[in-house]
């Protein structure tokens, strides 16, 4: 039982980062009805930029802010350079193109920063906290990750539910034609969606980097988990992405704890397959929100 609680607690911060990456996928899906497989590549690239900033200034907050800005800019660049020209003729082509972007970003990162894994020093201690004479599987850094994630999720929720920009973005996602007829500049909303998704993914990248190392391919597995969480959550739902992102983190932690961490991606893919068989619209999705 103690093991169970330890494994569970140890999964939360990982889950939070998966939730952020799933959120990024959902934001792109909501604006352009496609899955951006380059999302983790963009996050990896901006995390390298953040690493460079941190190494030269020693300032983690500055590195996070730079990653956030770079992430939103990179999101817009990918949208204009690749997605818009391709998507006009063919959505499937655009999705394949995102794989191209992923590979290009990985190759580019390898050329700029080299292929060797590098460590990302966390701003606060990442060792388990000692409370009540026992070492818990939760560090100060885990708590920071959870706090940043919570702030971001609450911020996004307020943006979407309380502001005019959020209403315009939701309307553009649900029904672009009615949105245009209501005076919403739908194209701008799509670009804004890509920018916010890029920023969200970038923050996820910076947060997860200290848990292991960063290399051009180190976030690939994160794509598997984030995609699983986003799809099970319904691809359309921000709440779904967060819930199942954290859920996926907990499952991974339990599977890794009781068996071997190498089994986690397999379990994730099995869950994904079961979900597609049993509830193809996702748990929080509404009917017809996607066709896979």
């Amino acid at each position: 039982m103690t093991n169970f609680i330890d494994y569970l607690l140890g999964g939360f911060s990982n889950g939070a980062v998966i939730a952020l990456m799933a959120l990024a996928l959902v934001l792109v899906w909501r604006s352009t009805r496609m899955v951006n497989f380059a999302q983790v590549g963009q996050a990896m690239f901006t995390t390298y930029i953040a690493l460079t900033v941190q190494q030269s200034t020693g300032n983690w907050v500055l590195a996070l802010v730079v990653a956030l800005l770079a992430g939103s800019i990179l999101g817009v660049v990918v949208f204009f350079l690749v997605i818009r020209p391709v998507k006009n003729s063919d959505t499937t082509g655009a999705i394949i193109a995102t794989f191209g972007v992923l590979i290009a970003l990985q190759a580019g990162a390898g050329m700029i920063w080299g292929g060797d894994p590098e460590g990302f020093v966390p701003p606060v201690d990442n060792a388990g906290l000692e409370i009540g004479g026992r070492i818990w599987p939760v560090s100060l850094y885990d708590l920071l990750v959870l706090a940043v994630t919570a702030v971001l999720v609450i911020g996004l929720t307020l943006l979407f539910t309380k502001t005019s920009l959020g209403l315009s973005m939701r309307a553009s996602a649900f029904n672009p034609e009615v949105a245009r007829l209501s005076g919403v500049r739908v194209n701008r909303m799509l670009i804004t969606g890509w920018a916010i998704a890029g920023a969200t993914g970038a923050i996820g990248g910076v947060l997860i980097a200290p848990f292991s190392t960063i290399s051009p391919n180190s976030f690939d597995i994160l794509l598997v988990f984030a995609f699983t969480a986003a799809v099970i959550g319904g691809l359309d739902s921000l709440i779904g992405a967060v819930t199942f992102g954290i859920g996926t983190g907990l499952v991974i932690s339990l599977v890794s704890g009781y068996s071997d961490s190498g089994n986690a991606p397999i379990v994730a893919l099995v869950l994904l397959a079961l979900n597609l068989l049993l509830k193809p619209d996702g748990v929080f999705g509404h009917h017809g929100s996607r066709s896979v």
Binding site: L167, S168, A171, F174, N175, V178, R180, S182, G183, V186
Partner: protein, 234 residues
């Protein structure tokens, strides 16, 4: 107010509108009637900027608007309520309404919302509910209300009777017609349901295969038996 000159629209080889001339004055309802495929929806989508004309002009307030983006046309005061109760079901009634005039100042929006709630009080009662919980008639009111939130000088209604009980349609259209008279709003209504449309309209225009067959006072058109048999099927 709104005028088309020799308007031609084609979908590939198919001519949907063939040299259409139309004038929509302020303060009254102008009804364009005709059977399925007469070009009614094409006319509306062209006026709203969703479809580009092949030739001819669309004049709004004296300026040519053909080729302008839909989001700019509505900001200029020409609002379309498209066919099929075009609300966004996932949003609440209040959000659907707010969407209609997001670019306007808060006080302007408030004034428009008062007008809408005055016209359709049910929307005020249902304000926090999701649009998909509304009945068909309520959703049509919401769709018209959303268009009115842009403070239009001209309102385009595409087939509002579709799928609604005749009594409800008449009620809604009479409210719109009163609004047109009282606020000097130009209303262009296209309808397959000629009887209802001509009842609230001042002027009637009969459209067939993309061409105007006849136009004149609504009463005159509805009493022209030959016209009824030939083009309106009743």
């Amino acid at each position: 107010m709104l005028e088309t000159v020799d308007l031609c629209v084609s979908y590939g080889a198919v001519k949907a509108l063939n040299g259409m001339n139309l004038v929509v004055p302020r303060g009254e309802v102008t009804a364009v009637i005709g059977a399925n495929g007469a070009g009614k929806s094409t006319l509306m989508r062209t006026l709203a900027g969703l479809v580009s004309p092949q030739s001819g002009q669309v004049l709004f307030d004296g300026a040519s608007i053909a080729g302008t983006k839909p989001e700019d046309i509505v900001r200029n005061g020409l609002a379309l309520v498209p066919e099929g109760r075009s609300t966004i079901p996932e949003l609440t009634v209040e959000e659907n309404l707010r969407l209609g005039g997001l670019w306007r100042s808060k006080s302007d929006r408030g004034a428009s919302r008062d007008i809408v709630f005055d016209l359709f009080p049910i929307l005020n009662e249902r304000s926090t509910m999701r649009a998909d919980t509304l009945s068909g008639g309520e959703r049509q009111q919401l769709a018209i209300g959303r268009a009115l939130m842009s403070d239009p000088k001209c309102l385009l209604l595409d087939e509002p009777s579709l799928g609604l009980a005749p009594l409800i349609v008449t009620q809604i259209l009479e409210l719109v017609s009163r609004l047109a008279r009282e606020t000097n709003l130009a209303v262009l209504l296209v309808e397959q349901n000629a009887v209802t449309a001509l009842r609230v309209a001042t002027t009637g225009v009969v459209l067939n295969l993309g061409e105007v067959v006849k136009s004149g006072p609504a009463a005159e058109i509805s009493s022209d038996e030959e016209l009824r048999h030939a083009y309106l099927g009743y």
